[in-house]
């Protein structure tokens, strides 16, 4: 983030302005990615008129950065009508897409409409790996063709690579592909639970050894010794800091009008079909609760060595059951980076040990009565 953009973000925080908002136009998608957290069925998306009304309210509320995402945004037949209106309202528009439906004509239209950037999901430079993740044969080639069309129009393209078990060997290849195509590249090593709370996708997360290697890769992190250094002691300032921009200068609206602090923070704060955007932003009790939280209020994290340097996601913490609690995925990242376990991981280890011993003894040849007793013990710990 540029210095001026950071300054504007700080000013928005002081003024209470929703500076940056993501609107998902649809959850429908033409890919079926193995790690996706969404339900792709259409349960009643906002109409074109409803979305335009929302955009008008958002402009009046002071929103500057508008990220249009999904699902796949080009699945909406009215996508360009929505985008054109957004640009008339002078939003800084960023798009997130798999780009499969972008050809020369769409790329030219995006240029004419002054889109700031287009983020394209690319999981591997190898078709077999990428297409196995998207479950669409030929999808990597389609996306790469689209990136070439976008670049030929002079547009800024960012490749977004989510690291998981399926593609954990390929991030260097994706970066090389990004360099070849003239794109920026981001790497996210976190697979999140599904919006409905289903945590089965978490099995796709790359393990600790992969994270450790990643955080030691100087092509990614610069000076690895500095990046992986033990965390500094929390200061008074850091204890009073806000955990992240969710609900403070940023928020998220789903295709059904539900208003959340962030796309990764499924705490419903209202619905823009029933209330004005600015009224939810200003008056939602849920948002007020999110905004009241400071690092010092976090029961475990405020006592943790990583407190001031952790990338703790309050949304992931919320999905674990407590928005003031730790986000274990971020604890694991802090541990992989520094070798120092977080307070949360230490507590989990202490609590988990007896249960694991019990589970080892559980296996098949146990009588019915003992099995039921063991199950109770294991689930109590879990």
């Amino acid at each position: 983030m540029s210095g001026l953009m950071q300054e504007m973000g700080d000013r928005a925080l002081r003024l209470g302005v929703p500076f940056s908002v993501q609107v998902d136009l649809t959850y429908r998608c033409n890919e079926q990615c193995v790690h996706c957290y969404l339900d792709h069925d259409d349960h009643g998306e906002m109409t074109t008129a409803e979305i335009k009304h929302l955009l008008k309210e958002m402009a009046e509320a002071g929103v500057f950065i508008l990220t249009l995402s999904g699902g796949e945004i080009f699945m909406r037949k009215d996508f360009f009508e929505i985008l054109e209106y957004a640009r008339e309202l002078t939003f800084c528009v960023k798009l997130k897409t798999n780009a499969v439906l972008i050809r020369e004509a769409q790329a030219a239209r995006l240029r004419d409409l002054g889109v700031e950037s287009i983020q394209v999901s690319i999981y591997s430079h190898r078709p077999g790996v990428h297409d196995a993740i998207t479950k669409v044969h030929g999808s990597l080639q389609r996306s790469i063709d689209a990136i070439r069309f976008l670049k030929s129009q002079g547009l800024k393209v960012v490749m977004a690579n989510v690291l998981m078990t399926e593609n954990m060997q390929d991030y260097h290849g994706v970066r090389a592909l990004a360099d070849e195509l003239g794109c920026e590249c981001t790497l996210d090593p976190t697979v999140t639970p599904m919006m409905d709370g289903d945590r089965s996708t978490l099995d796709l997360n790359a393990g600790e050894s992969v994270l450790r290697a990643l955080f030691r890769d100087e092509a990614l992190v610069g000076n690895a010794d500095e990046f992986c250094a033990p965390p500094p002691a929390p200061t008074e300032d850091s204890m009073n800091s806000v955990p992240c921009s969710a609900g403070h200068t940023a928020c998220y609206v789903s295709p059904y009008g539900e208003f959340y602090p962030c796309v990764q923070f499924p705490l419903s704060c209202g619905n823009v079909r029933q209330q004005r955007f600015i009224d939810i932003w200003r008056d939602s009790e849920q948002l007020k609760e999110v905004r009241a939280i400071r690092l010092r209020d976090l029961s475990s994290c405020s006592q943790c060595a990583h407190g001031s340097s952790c990338t703790r996601c309050p949304g992931l913490a919320f999905m674990e059951g407590n928005m003031r609690g730790p986000s274990t995925a971020d604890c694991e990242k802090s541990f992989a980076r520094t070798g120092i376990p977080s307070k949360n991981l230490l507590a989990k280890k202490e609590n988990a040990s007896p249960a694991r011993l019990v589970q080892i003894q559980l296996v098949p040849a146990i009588t019915g009565s003992r099995l039921s007793g063991m199950d109770s013990a294991a689930s109590a710990v879990a």
């Binding site: 001026l4 950037s117 800024k156």
Partner: protein, 107 residues
């Protein structure tokens, strides 16, 4: 007598009022600018149809205590600078481009 200049907001920019300043992002290289209150007035009035000297007389001299000739010189320099960054279009003829809607946001 010098020719009249017409100025229009570029349709390629993103813009929003944030507090007292106008935040503008140029389509050229995603460069971010903030406009001070005087520049904001000029930018908001740049409709492609009103000559720059009229904008200065009606909008700037009426709102700020400035000498009209000096204000016009400053406005011409500012307009040239904004045009250099792709924020403003300048022409000696009226500019009939589709302009972004101006929102008076109320944070």
């Amino acid at each position: 007598m010098s020719k009249k200049l017409y100025v229009a907001r570029s349709p390629r920019i993103a813009a929003r009022m944030l507090g007292e300043e106008m935040l503008v992002m140029s389509g050229q290289g995603s460069t971010l600018f903030t406009l001070n209150p005087t520049a904001t007035v000029l930018w908001q009035a740049a409709d492609g149809a009103t000559p720059l000297d009229e904008i200065v007389e009606r909008r700037i001299c009426s709102e700020f205590e400035v000498n009209p000739e000096e204000a016009l010189r400053d406005a011409e320099a500012l307009a040239a600078d904004l045009a250099k960054h792709g924020i403003l279009l300048i022409s000696e003829e009226p500019i009939a481009s589709k302009l972004p809607v101006q929102e008076q946001n109320r944070p």
